[in-house]
């Protein structure tokens, strides 16, 4: 599948899940901050992507929820070294350098952009 087709379909999935027009859904859009995605939306987006691309997404594979739940990955609101390893392992296609400079757990949702979804789908479809 060509990249342009993947991008178009991912934007459609996100727009459907969030009840928005497709032109509101840009590659740089941060799901939580720009598109007001809530926890149910992350589940919906997962379903929409599975259905659209015929892929199977394991628990925590796309949105690594454990970072918000596991005490060894976060200390005093800051993601630990173990937590950073966990994030990098779960999201190998994400560049974490700028996040590492200020690794607050509250800023993790800012990593979840439409572009991240595109890269995720690309890695799944290529596999």
């Amino acid at each position: 599948m060509e990249e342009q087709e993947i991008i178009a379909k991912v934007r459609k999935c996100v727009a459907t899940a969030l009840g928005r027009d497709e032109d509101e859904v840009q590659l740089e859009s941060v799901l939580s901050r720009d598109l007001e995605a809530e926890s149910i939306d992350y589940l919906d987006i997962t379903f929409q992507l599975e259905r659209e691309f015929g892929i199977s997404i394991q628990k925590d594979e796309l949105f690594p929820q454990k970072i918000f739940q596991d005490e060894t990955l976060v200390k005093d609101g800051v993601v630990t070294e173990k937590g950073l390893e966990y994030l990098q392992e779960k999201m190998p296609y994400v560049e974490l350098d700028s996040f590492r400079e200020d690794p607050k757990v509250t800023k993790v949702p800012e990593l979840f952009t439409v572009n991240l979804l595109v890269n995720f789908v690309k890695s799944k479809v290529a596999a």
Binding site: G19, E38, I40, D41
Partner: protein, 134 residues
């Protein structure tokens, strides 16, 4: 049309534009016994029915308007938190567009300013002979 009345009070009605209604939630209401036993919370489908009834009032108040509207479609009904006995639910419906006899509203339900539910829904004229398109 009446039957089960979900709306207690209309606090604002701009005919054909916007309506704000209230529904007070009482522990005594029978449906709470089943939803859920030991944890009474307002069912989403009842919030939807509340929106339908409130929007009906908004359209009935229009010049030459009527109240024979029924639910046509729902899109993206999402929940933020539960509403529970002891709270007063506020339903706000704003008319979004009107096309071919189908009227879309944007709805927002809240308790004390905190969002409970958001959705878009459409009403159409009640037709006792209506059949689904095959």
């Amino acid at each position: 049309m009446s039957g089960y009345v979900f709306v207690d009070r209309i606090v604002e009605n701009q005919p054909g534009e916007r309506v704000v209604a209230l529904k007070a939630l009482a522990f005594n209401e029978e449906f709470f016994r089943d939803h859920f036993p030991g944890m009474p919370v307002l069912p989403g489908a009842m919030i939807l029915e509340g929106f339908v009834q409130a929007a009906r009032e908004c359209l009935a108040a229009r010049e030459g308007g009527h109240d024979r509207w029924t639910l046509d479609e729902v899109a993206g009904m999402r929940f933020n938190r539960f509403a529970a006995p002891g709270e007063v639910l506020q339903l706000e419906a704003d008319l979004d567009k009107e096309e071919d006899g189908v009227i879309w509203f944007k709805g927002k339900a809240s308790v004390d300013g905190t969002g409970v539910c958001r959705l878009r829904f459409a009403l159409k004229v009640y037709d006792p002979n209506e059949r689904a398109a095959s």
